[in-house]
């Protein structure tokens, strides 16, 4: 024979979602047939009645909180009501401080950082071109860490960048130091007035280390990608860097180094 117990908390208001969450927790208790916490409004009264959760002697009004339990026996009903009281008085969970919301796309990253001027793209090569193009169109210089980007895509991206006054570093650009900030893999070297332009791998790293050992420092180390100096690409990014250095857009720089295993075809 099941037991229905109602407790009225006169003048107590709790949010309906909180009450539904507590109800769900009580309903899961072994031996509880049904349980609900509701503000005793006329509409809720009907719901409780339909669910067979009302004791016929219960009196409550719309401003009162009704705790209703139907259980297999009195002991279970009592302990469930006790549990309901605990849950209602439980202090707020500690996870309610808004965490920093990390952007999920380039678009929202740009909104969070309106002054950003460079994007590092590291996605499978088939998708790198599309992401790089979005970055360029958002006014960002691009470093493409990804490999497996087709030559045709590289040429197309670099031409678009040139027209926009931007640079594409890479693809397959594994290292760079821009104004002292290392990107991808880079060595810790002193800052100085020597700029390096290179394919984008160990050559740049080695030269930057040699310069550091010689007591000098690096202003920028810019990888342009292993194919930039080919005739097909036409050194678009290399020329952009040289142009920027010449116009002193990149400072401070007095010397420029070109590690490359390709002959310069300027």
């Amino acid at each position: 024979m099941s037991v229905t117990v109602n407790i009225v908390r006169a003048g107590v208001f709790l949010d309906s979602v909180v009450l539904m969450q507590i109800s769900r927790e009580l309903t899961a208790i072994q031996g509880v047939e049904d349980a609900a916490l509701m503000m005793a409004t006329p509409a809720n009264w009907d719901i409780l009645s339909d669910a067979d959760l009302l004791d016929e002697d219960t009196m409550a009004g719309p401003g009162d909180l009704l705790v209703a339990v139907r259980a297999q026996d009195q002991a279970i009903a009592d302990s469930t009501l006790q549990r309901a009281a605990e849950l209602m008085e439980r202090p707020a969970q500690q996870n309610n401080t808004p965490q920093e919301l990390r952007p999920l796309t380039l678009r929202s990253a740009c909104r969070q950082l309106p002054d950003a001027n460079l994007a590092l793209i590291s996605v499978p090569g088939d998708f790198a071109g599309a992401e790089a193009r979005k970055a360029l169109r958002a006014g960002l210089n691009v470093m493409i860490f990804s490999d497996n980007v087709s030559l045709a895509e590289e040429i197309s991206l670099k031409r678009e960048a040139r027209d926009l006054g931007l640079i594409v570093m890479g693809p397959d650009c594994g290292t760079a130091i821009i104004d002292g900030v290392p990107l991808a893999f880079a060595n810790v070297v002193p800052r100085g007035d020597i700029a390096i332009v290179g394919a984008s791998g160990t050559g740049i790293q080695e030269v930057s280390c040699l310069i550091a050992h010689a007591g000098e420092g690096i202003s920028h180390a810019i990888g342009v990608g292993g194919r930039d100096l080919t005739e097909a690409v036409g050194a678009i990014s290399t020329l952009t860097v040289l142009d920027w250095l010449e116009r002193e857009c990149l400072q401070p720089t007095t010397l420029c180094s070109f590690p490359s295993h390709r002959p310069l075809v300027l």
Binding site: Q21, D50, N96, T105
Partner: protein
């Protein structure tokens, strides 16, 4: 018919709305010259409504605006009292108005050449459909999903019907799930209901929308506007689908609402719409 409820009380109530409340509201609105909804919703958002599952503030604000005019329009005191009691005892009264407002906001956005903005979202219990501006009145549909949520006493997920109803028009304009950060409690239907969870849902919706409403702002987000203007390109590109706050209907007719929760729009609608627009524009 409310959530499939169709007994005599429901039919009587509908007849009363048709014969008494409706005409009285009509006269009251004419008498007061209409009630601007945009500022009302703006205030409701600052008071914890998201206008789909939470309409307590807006229902109250509306009643406050409407009561004097209604009192002028309705001669009989007991009729007036019944109407005020009906509106005052239903926390969701404003949802009806929010839906009509949503439709009026999105309809003028239809039929803009090449536009990828979603102009309507709706569900009928089996399919979820969207329309986009660039393709007029064509519906792009996919099977609806099951809502996840909390149930009224006596009911469980086994009683639930798949997602249903046309109230998703409020998400289409940037309210409901899109404005979750304004109503953190609603996030409790699927999670713990923390402020952080709610903010996270609104942040995800910002990834698939073109802009922010300049007047409908969220206090806890430093008065950032709600994300509005769903772009199907962003949905398909990011893999993020609209989050919808919804009531849950019983799967048998005649019973009505059995719970409330959150559901996602199916991605296939957006993919179909994007392909169709691509074809229309000659982009493969």
């Amino acid at each position: 018919m409310r959530f499939g409820g169709n007994d005599e009380s429901v039919r009587d109530r509908l007849a009363w709305i048709r014969d008494s409340l409706g005409p009285a509201l009509g006269s009251a609105l004419q008498c007061c010259g209409g009630i601007p909804l945009r500022p009302l919703v703006a205030r409701g958002l600052t008071m914890g409504d998201e206008m789909h599952q939470r309409n307590v503030a807006c229902s109250s604000l509306l009643l406050r605006e409407l009561a004097p005019a209604l009192a002028s329009a309705v001669a009989d005191h007991s009729d007036l009292s019944e109407m005020l009691a009906f509106m005052g005892s239903n926390d969701q009264f404003f949802l009806n108005i929010a839906m009509a407002m949503g439709k009026s906001i999105m309809d003028p956005v239809r039929n803009i050449e090449q536009s990828t903005v979603v102009t309507a979202m709706t569900r009928n219990g089996t399919d979820f459909g969207i329309r986009i501006s660039g393709l007029g009145d064509e519906w792009f549909t996919a099977p609806v999903e099951m809502p996840a949520g909390l149930y009224f006493p006596g009911f469980s997920a086994a009683d639930a019907n798949p997602d249903m109803g046309d109230s998703t028009i409020v998400e289409t304009i940037g309210l409901g799930g899109f404005a979750m950060a304004a109503a953190p409690a609603v996030a409790g239907f699927v999670g713990a209901g923390s402020v952080a969870e709610a903010a996270g849902i609104t942040a995800r919706m910002r990834e698939i929308t073109l802009g922010e409403h300049p007047e409908w702002t969220i206090v806890s987000e430093n008065y950032q506007g709600v994300p509005t203007g769903i772009d199907i390109r962003l949905v398909v590109e990011t893999g993020i689908v609209p989050t919808i706050n919804t009531g849950i209907a019983h799967r048998e007719p005649g019973i009505g609402q059995v719970g409330a929760g959150v559901v996602k729009a199916p991605m296939a609608c957006f993919e179909k719409a994007l392909r169709a627009l691509g074809e229309r524009l000659g982009i493969s």
